[in-house]
Symmetry: C2
Subunit: 94 residues, 2 copies
């Protein structure tokens, strides 16, 4: 299992603004970097989270890197499927 880090936001099915607020809170609490992660169709939402944060709430935040990849997910039926993933690293400039 991957270690759960404080400055990682996992984007799920809740409304976009919740994740924007979570990222903003991390920066407000002193984080220099926040990583926004998502899988499957939610990768599109992760991009919007990063963009809304930068454009509306935190202009000092820059996209440091964007990584795309493929992850294996095992469902309840035991079957393993492959899904696309994204990892957006945001950095706050002082």
């Amino acid at each position: 299992m991957e270690e759960q880090k404080d400055n990682v936001i996992y984007v799920g099915k809740k409304p976009t603004m919740g994740y924007v607020l979570a990222a903003l809170t991390q920066f407000t609490n002193g984080a220099k970097e926040v990583i926004v992660k998502a899988r499957g169709k939610l990768t599109a939402k992760a991009i919007t989270v990063a963009e809304v944060l930068r454009n509306k709430y935190l202009p000092q935040a820059e996209v440091k890197s964007v990584k795309i990849g493929t992850e294996e997910v095992t469902g309840e039926d035991g079957k393993t499927i492959r899904v696309s993933s994204i990892e957006i690293t945001l950095e706050k400039n002082e």
Copy 2:
């Protein structure tokens, strides 16, 4: 209007494999780089296009860069909305 370039694949509503094949064809025809672009929810599909191409069909292809952004789109009703966008540059290593 943006200039339509040969080595740019715009991901739309058709099945994923069509775009994978389009990108593969560009590389087969000698392109050194292929750029996969999408907007809105289709950004998730663009990631899958790049990943399927790399993992199943063209292991020599590498992700050179991933850019995310926001674009303004004017609908038929004249209203302008903002949507997220992605631009994945794939590079073929010899």
